[in-house]
């Protein structure tokens, strides 16, 4: 109970902070739209009718991935700059419980770009995405958001030692676009690459979202998406304790 409340309140406050920031807010929303536009222009010449819907959905979900990879990697560094990292660590709450609501808030920001991409696709390109089972569609999206947030949590603690952590996030952003099958089907890749794809939660999330849009059953993909995300979460939780101990040993929590 206390944990739920803690998660809800921190999620809400961090979402407020991220949304307030003009840079993170506007930039993260516009960025995927730009790529969606490129995708629509490229696929627009295709004769197959389903292709634009495919690209539209893919571009919409891409924003969730982008916002998390680019912002989660700098999460701890930003808290350190603010001088709040020490205060978070000094509190009796487990570090994983402090960080997961923050990365979830980041991933939720991807929802804004999801909605705006779909609107953009509809207004400018006349692409409407028919959603056969709306409930399954929404659940698939929310599970995807949460799983990507767990991946972001692992990412945030994994890169904390590196000065250029934010650059590593950017490095992950683009391969993810391909590997998660946002714009191109996974069947195009050699089989060893698809193993990597299936280790990434958005791949399952994307499949679930497309399935529910088409009226097929998304539930296996939803469960897989959640499971893969939880694996990242557990690894992140273990790693975060190690990282914290190392930071206390090496005095890297503060800037002074």
């Amino acid at each position: 109970m206390r944990v739920l409340r803690l998660v809800a309140v921190s999620y809400w406050l961090h979402l407020k902070m991220i949304a307030v920031s003009v840079f993170e807010g506007v930039f993260q929303v516009i960025w995927p739209i730009y790529f969606a536009t490129v995708a629509f222009l490229l696929y627009g010449r295709s004769d197959e009718p389903g292709v634009l819907v495919y690209a539209g959905l893919g571009a919409a979900v891409m924003g969730i991935w982008s916002v998390v990879t680019t912002t989660a990697s700098g999460l701890l560094q930003r808290e350190r700059w603010l001088g709040t990292l020490e205060l978070l660590v000094a509190s009796p709450t487990r570090f994983a419980l402090v960080l997961v609501p923050i990365t979830t808030a980041m991933a939720s920001l991807g929802l804004f770009s999801l909605v705006s991409t779909l609107l953009w696709a509809w207004l400018l390109f006349g692409i409407t995405v028919p959603v056969a089972s709306p409930l399954a569609f929404v659940v698939s999206i929310l599970v995807s958001v949460f799983s990507v947030a767990l991946l972001g949590f692992l990412l945030s603690v994994a890169v904390v030692r590196y000065r250029t952590a934010w650059a590593m996030g950017n490095l992950l952003e683009y391969p993810g676009w391909l590997l998660c099958g946002f714009l191109v089907p996974l069947t195009l890749f050699p089989s060893w690459v698809s193993w990597i794809s299936y280790a990434l939660p958005p791949t399952w999330g994307m499949q679930a979202i497309r399935a529910s849009a088409h009226g097929e059953s998304p539930w296996l993909d939803v469960v897989m998406c959640l499971l893969v995300g939880l694996v990242y979460g557990v690894v992140g939780a273990l790693l975060s304790e190690t990282v914290l101990r190392s930071a206390r040993r090496h005095a890297t929590l503060s800037l002074t």
């Binding site: 206390r2 409340r5 803690l6 309140v9 921190s10 406050l13 407020k16 902070m17 307030v20 920031s21 603010l82 001088g83 709040t84 020490e86 205060l87 978070l88 660590v89 000094a90 509190s91 009796p92 709450t93 402090v98 101990r245 206390r248 040993r249 090496h250 005095a251 929590l253 503060s254 002074t256």
Partner: protein, 343 residues
Amino acid sequence: MVRTNFAGMVPVPSGRPVVRAHDLRRSYRTRAGTFRRERKEVEAVRGVSFDIERGELFGLLGPNGAGKTTTIKMLITLLLPTGGSAEVLGHDVVADAREVRRHIGYVFGGDRGLYERLSALDNLRYFAELYGVPPREQRQRIGELVEMVGLTGREKERVEGFSRGMRQRLHIARGLLHDPEVLFLDEPTIGIDPVGARELRGTIATLREQGKTILLTTHYMFEADELCDRIAVIRGGEIVAEGTPADLKQRVTAGHVVEVETFGLPETSVDAVRLLDGVRSAAVEERGQAQVLIVQVRPGAEVTSLVLGSLDGVNVGRVSSREPTLEDAYVELVSAEPAGAPA
């Protein structure tokens, strides 16, 4: 007697120090040089031991880089000691870190450590959650604290528009959210105007009256004198003196202090003054253009003319004699020869 805290029933036997540091040590590895990486090890704290009793306000006093912050950070579990041990309320700061964190509050000076884009209220709400303050008590607790630190009416504004003093007061409120039994205050009045600093000292005194155990670090002697029950003077990572403010003054009250205003005082003259008969110690303080030579004189000795004699060729201004203060005791302690070196 058994005390409780609303974070849970926490029996803490009386008669045992609330904070106990035993031979605490901490060294830092630093890297210097861009091309040839040099590794240096700095010993910031070298064997610090002290006890703080329940309800006591203990001051840690020392010059920049003496190791005050490092000591505090080991006690609040943000740094692992490289040697020695410490416990707070009977919990070991390494083995039992989470339990320690539950019962202590930490406030540092300066204007960082707040979420700029959130209101003061939201900042407090967030940390109330992190400290597990029960939802039912939160609203009232936050209201009381906002009132106590004098932020009423401004609490809904974003912190980015706050002045230094307002930020500092918000920090204090944050540190008290979970009604901690032990408070660690690292230079809480730094950068605050005199009126604000006085109010803050009033707040600290009130907390002490409420029975909180407090560890305070400061550079301001009068602050330590006014507030602290006991003071430890730390220099170069070692405690060089410990006692009540009166004890420390006692070390120098026998005797008096001669102050000589000079212009362009060479270090050699100070050394010469130190060697004079009847001089206990000498230190230099910059005051604007002038260097003031502060000479601690042994009881009964009369050294003014000797001192002036050894300042041959130096431009001398005002010369005065006065009773020693706590500040003199402090200056003598921190400017003495390092412990272990021949006097």
